[in-house]
């Protein structure tokens, strides 16, 4: 494992159980290393295992996954939860903000699960993050009172709340219109660059592909996909 690699996955597999004891293999990955502070974009057809791969980084089930020199798979579940809270930010395609909480509270919620930011600084830190994402005037708004682009920016702020070294994003702009998508993506990439985050992004957006240090096609990475392609 290279010293500069923020994430190293080795022999990671995922199969969904089927009736009759057989499993449907969806991912078989030999090796993937992400250099610290890099931006990697995963692309591939639907069902090629992109989302499964992101899930396994956050909650592995087979193989070895090292994030920030920690073997995530070796941790107990409770410690893995805490590790995830402090080291991995996650941006969902469908935002998944908590409807009962305001923008500010959604960001502060993520801090509740980690010890990264002291209690008395959480409000100020969250306010600062939202301001960086252009939401200084939207702190007290509930998700339903925000536009979709604003909701995704809150979700990005939430992913960055505990200053995790690694950020995973699963098609963060797929549900936004083209113009909003490119705005949100630009600000997301800029913030990650500024803070030197290691970013693993599933996207087909040209702007994302253009801003990436590396673009990986799942058909090359996922041996299950490669086998499908050769048959």
């Amino acid at each position: 494992m290279g010293a500069q690699s923020a994430v190293v996955l080795r022999d990671v597999k995922k199969a969904f159980p089927l009736r009759g004891g057989l499993g449907l293999e969806v991912l078989d990955l030999e090796h993937l290393a992400l250099p610290a502070g890099s931006c990697t974009v995963l692309r591939g057809r639907s069902g090629s295992g992109k989302t499964t791969l992101l899930n396994l980084v956050a909650a592995p089930t087979a193989g070895t996954v090292h994030v920030a020199d920690t073997d995530v798979f070796a941790l107990s579940e409770a410690r893995r939860d805490r590790f995830r809270a402090e080291n991995i930010g996650y941006v969902f395609q469908t935002f998944n903000l908590l409807s009962a909480l305001s923008a500010l509270e959604n960001v502060m919620l993520a801090m509740m699960f980690a010890d990264a930011v002291p209690q008395h600084l959480q409000r100020r830190h969250s306010t600062g993050l939202l301001a960086r994402l252009g939401l200084a005037e939207r702190l007290a708004h509930k998700p339903a009172q925000l536009s979709r682009g604003e909701q995704q920016r809150v979700a990005i702020a939430r992913a960055l709340a505990n200053s995790p070294p690694l950020v995973l994003a699963d098609e963060p702009c797929a549900s936004l219109d083209a113009r909003t998508a490119s705005e949100v993506l630009a600000i997301f990439l800029a913030v990650c660059r500024e803070d030197e985050k290691t970013l693993l992004l599933v996207s087909h957006d040209e702007a994302a592909l253009g801003g990436a240090d590396r673009v990986i096609d799942m058909s090359e990475l996922n041996r299950t996909e490669a086998r499908k392609g050769s048959t």
């Binding site: 939860d81 590790f83 991995i88 996650y90 509270e105 801090m111 505990n162």
Partner: protein, 395 residues
């Protein structure tokens, strides 16, 4: 942010459902609290009404009927005894106080009670005190010259609208013997609030049969002995007499309480069913809230929330709902008791709706515990939310 603040935000997020659940808990709890207060108040009322005197002497017959009719005015009057029985008891060295009572007809449903001034005297051993709201007590007049002065209980005065100086009678045949209101009592929260008092000579004067009798009639004599040790011998002696029986009101209370116990058991069963329905309601409310929120719970897990944290949030929500409902229910129960005392106080219900029982914190703790238990299954559903299977785009 803490588990509790997130739980409270969630509750506020679905304000209508949360309020309805808390109100249903409050209704259930207030029903229980009010029932306990009122059942206690009814018993307290019987005890308060019956314990000033240790013996009730009346005609032979049912002891329960004698006490119910003379003390609580809840049953038909027993047959008469002779006035001489009162005279004898008054002179008995074992008797501290003897009070003659004649229970007669009624004016617009308010019972006539003939007695003398001893009935209202402020003896040191008396629990009940009589105070005037207006006017004066009626005079202890001689049998030859009845005054027909009436003293009205508070509810009797309020309901009939009679005022000091008003003359009244019930039935044309009584027009010759109208009573004149000379006093109105303050509420005593006993059967006396519904009584119309006047002197025994007035009673005998109004009663056609009594007018012609050489020895005047009475319904009963209330007795307080000088020493409690004299009570058994008095009781025995009066029961041996051919005309009279002596009843210990405390013994009759046991009979009444035994009859009430059956109703109390039924009430307890109904309350238990109400409790079960409320618990089920909390469960359904928390279950549907948790099911609606599976995606958000998965999101929290993905953000690093431990299983115990999401379990805690759901349990804190149901505990907070139960606490709000429980507190509201205790306040509501006391409010119902207050209303009931206002409406039913004159029938002998003695309850202090502002008196908080030491058991109430325990009731509240029990409600919170049960409410939390009702939230347990939804909380376990939240607890079992897997990260890997729910991180995916949840669409």
């Amino acid at each position: 942010m803490t588990i509790l603040t997130v739980a409270l935000k969630y509750l506020r997020g679905r304000l209508v459902a949360s309020t309805l659940t808390a109100v249903s808990i409050a209704l259930g709890v207030s029903l229980v609290v009010a029932s306990v207060l009122l059942a206690g108040g009814i018993k307290e009322g019987f005890i308060a009404g019956a314990t000033d005197y240790n013996l009730v002497v009346g005609a032979k017959g049912s002891p329960t009927q004698l006490v119910l009719s003379v003390v609580f005015r809840m049953d038909l009057a027993t047959p008469n005894i002779e006035y001489t029985a009162y005279r004898d008891l008054q002179q008995d060295p074992r008797v501290e106080t003897a009070v003659p009572i004649a229970v007669g007809d009624a004016y617009r449903g308010f019972r006539y009670v003939a007695t003398n001034s001893a009935y209202f005297a402020a003896f040191p051993w008396r629990r009940k005190t009589f105070a005037l709201a207006a006017g004066k007590f009626f005079a202890d007049d001689p049998p030859s010259d009845p005054t027909y002065e009436a003293l009205l209980g508070a509810e009797a005065a309020r309901s009939t609208g009679l005022q000091i100086g008003d003359r009244f009678y019930e039935g044309e045949e009584m027009a010759e013997y109208p009573l004149t209101v000379v006093g109105i009592l303050r509420p005593t929260h006993s059967a006396d609030d519904r009584a119309i008092f006047f002197s025994l000579p007035s009673y005998w004067g109004m009663n056609e049969v009594a007018r012609g009798m050489a020895v005047k009639p009475l319904t009963a004599v209330l007795i307080r002995p000088k020493r409690m040790s004299d009570l058994p011998s008095l009781h025995r002696a009066l029961n041996v007499a051919p005309e009279t029986q002596a009843v210990l009101p405390s013994g009759v209370l046991l009979t009444i309480f035994n009859m009430m116990a059956v109703a109390e058991d039924v009430l307890k069963m109904i309350l238990a069913i109400v409790g079960a329905i409320v618990l089920l309601y909390v469960f359904v409310s928390m279950y549907s809230a948790t099911m609606e929120r599976r995606r958000e719970i998965a999101t929290m897990r993905a953000l690093g929330a431990r299983r115990a944290t999401v379990l805690g949030i759901v349990l804190a929500e149901s505990a907070a709902l139960a606490a709000a409902g429980g507190l509201g229910g205790i306040v509501g129960g006391h409010a119902v008791a207050y209303l009931a005392r206002s409406l039913l106080g004159s029938s002998g219900l003695v309850t202090n709706p502002f008196l908080f029982d030491v058991l109430e914190p325990a009731v509240l703790a029990g409600v919170i515990l049960l409410g939390t238990v009702a939230g347990l299954l939804p909380a376990v559903l939240a607890y079992r939310t897997e990260v890997a299977e729910n991180l995916a785009p949840l669409s």
